[in-house]
């Protein structure tokens, strides 16, 4: 094979894969933009003959309130867990204490466990705290189970900051919080970007906690509402697809705008790779 032909084959394979990854988005769009009358198994691959935003209107009517719930859940949970992770990462990297190297892996294990193994006590505890079924309860859950990953990302980031810098500040009489405020925090933006995007995406997309903790449709996040929408057989495919696109939109938008931070979060989640 000549060089030219092999380059062509190379791009051909890449384009074929690109088509595979885009296929579901194509289907979401063309089905979501069809009117109910036009959704038909025989013509499901055909483009809509006329654009209809009716499905999106219907999907928004059904999922709109849950979309708001997801925002009310995701924004505070993301911010709180980023702050907490930053503080933990700072202490575990620059203020190590006796036992901190044992503590860290014990914290990390928390991000791998199947959450089924804590769900029953979690529900019992949230009921006792009168937080069961509420968005605040779900915020608490995401903050607590977000501690391992956010601590990991910040700790690894702060580990790259020279300890001499911190030691010098200590000699100059700076306090723990002073060093954080004036030295570490101002250079933390990249780590905050990674953690905020990571937490935003995972909390927005999360389903298991949401479906177990919020039974009342009025407080359910959008993933649960979409699940229920798709589970009821009377709801048409066009509305389901429009709903799915709606539910995916915020995280897709974040990905398109801030993708490189997202990738870093992914790789951090895989530990040291």
């Amino acid at each position: 094979m000549t060089l030219r032909a092999s380059r062509l084959a190379l791009y051909g394979v890449l384009l074929a894969f690109a088509a595979f990854y885009l296929l579901p988005i194509y289907m979401l769009l063309i089905t979501g933009l069809k009117s109910y009358a036009e959704v038909n198994l025989a013509t499901m691959w055909q483009l809509p003959s006329a654009l209809s935003f009716d499905s999106f209107r219907q999907a928004f009517e059904k999922l709109g309130p849950n979309f708001i719930n997801s925002i009310q859940l995701t924004v505070p949970a993301t911010l709180i867990s980023a702050m907490l992770g930053s503080m933990n990462g700072y202490i575990l990297s620059k203020w190590r204490f006796k036992g901190s190297e044992v503590l860290f892996p014990l914290l990390l294990f928390g991000m791998f466990i199947p959450y089924q193994s804590i769900l029953i006590p979690l529900v019992q505890t949230l009921q006792q705290m009168r937080l069961y079924g509420s968005i605040s309860g779900l915020i608490l859950v995401h903050v607590v189970y977000g501690i391992p990953i956010t601590t990991l990302i910040f700790r690894n980031y702060y580990a790259t900051v020279p300890s001499e810098l911190v030691e010098a500040a200590k000699i100059d009489g700076a306090s723990l919080l002073g060093i954080y405020r004036w030295i570490l925090f101002p250079i933390s933006l990249p780590a905050f970007a990674v953690v905020l995007i990571w937490q935003f995406t995972s909390i927005w997309n999360e389903f298991l906690f949401a479906v177990v903790v919020t039974q009342n449709p009025a407080t359910q996040p959008v993933t649960v509402a979409l699940y229920n929408l798709a589970g009821s057989y009377i709801v048409e495919w066009n509305v389901q697809m429009a709903g799915a696109l709606l539910a995916a939109l915020p995280t897709l938008l974040v990905y398109v705008l801030l993708g490189r931070f997202f990738v870093r979060g992914l790789l951090a989640g895989a530990l040291k790779g």
Partner: protein
């Protein structure tokens, strides 16, 4: 000096809430679930009276759970193979000084930003047996690819009367010729959707690994007369072993826990063909109110994930301390 001692106190005070939260919500709750799995709690009202190993006994003899174990093993193998092969292939292709590399990389990776629920809903529509991909395959003349997808009750397995079964029986492995050791075709639908979502992530890991290999190493091999294929085989691939291990652990623990995708794509499937422990646990506990039984499933899930993850964590921590 007084300031430093005070800072010591501040550092402990600041980290304590997180430590207590994880101690209670992770370790305390795991212990609590362990207790429930040994209890008589059946029904909405908690009952912590000890029942012993009954729930585990019952679970091991439960045919749905046996099917779930088979499904988990089959799913894990296929999912890992699909993601690792596609991920490595894409990483190597993108390493060829591709024009528009960033665009391709973003395209391959974007499914990671989407919820498993969305993925399940879309692929359920794409794999509707009466249309969807089947129509596409028919139009392309690829009829042999048409499938009943997630609605297929078929389990491929070694037929008991076949020659292979007789050979196996002779070496004492006759038991393998049964659906218990088969491949449920419906599970392939879940593998495809899951690989669509996760393979880009593996590509990103491999690509980061490849880019971490010093160019001089590859150049040295080329100077020695190695072809590009040989460079990958003998220089790049061996150096990617740690990345492959990390990717396999991450994918493995996802597949042992998989829930959202199954719940939204096919639920338990015909004859539990796509059922998994996480979904069984969810139905048993939160729809059936069999809390002790559900906890036993949860304990099994935790054990399986721990077997995979704990050695990996220990290995990583050791390596870090050595450095």
């Amino acid at each position: 000096m007084k300031g430093l001692a005070w800072d010591r106190v501040v550092s402990i005070v600041l980290i304590t809430p997180s430590v207590i939260a994880v101690a209670v919500f992770v370790y305390g709750f795991i212990g609590w679930t362990g207790w429930v799995s040994l209890s008589k709690w059946d029904g909405l009202r908690p009952n912590y009276d000890l029942a012993g190993w009954v729930n585990f006994d019952r679970l091991l003899n439960n045919s749905r759970f046996q099917i779930d174990v088979r499904n988990t093993i089959v799913f894990t193998l296929l999912f890992l193979a699909a993601c690792l092969i596609i991920g490595l292939l894409l990483a190597i292709l993108l390493d060829q000084k591709i024009r528009g590399e960033n665009l391709f990389r973003s395209l391959f990776l974007f499914p990671m930003a989407v919820s498993f629920i969305v993925t399940g809903v879309v692929w359920r529509w794409l794999m509707v047996p009466s249309s969807g991909l089947n129509t596409l395959f028919a139009a392309a003349g690829l009829d042999f690819l048409k499938s009943a997808w997630y609605t297929s009750p078929t389990v491929l397995h070694i037929q008991p009367e076949s020659g292979l079964a007789q050979v196996l029986a002779r070496v004492g492995l006759g038991g393998l010729a049964s659906p218990n050791f088969g491949l449920p075709l419906a599970l392939i639908s879940i593998v495809i959707a899951a690989a669509w979502q996760m393979s880009g992530f593996v590509m990103a890991m491999f690509l980061a690994g490849i880019r971490g290999i010093p160019e001089e190493l590859r150049d040295a091999a080329r100077v020695d007369g190695a072809s590009e294929v040989q460079v990958y085989r003998h220089v790049v691939l061996p150096l990617l072993k740690p990345v492959t291990l990390s990717a396999a652990i991450v994918l493995g623990h996802i597949s042992l826990k998989i829930f959202d995708l199954v719940a939204s794509l096919s639920k338990q499937g015909p004859g539990f063909a796509t059922d998994v422990p996480a979904f069984f646990m969810f139905q048993t506990t939160f729809q059936g109110d069999h809390f002790a039984q559900g906890s036993a499933i949860a304990v099994f899930m935790l054990l399986s994930v721990s077997l995979l993850v704990i050695p990996y964590l220990v290995y990583n921590i050791r390596r870090e301390i050595e450095v």
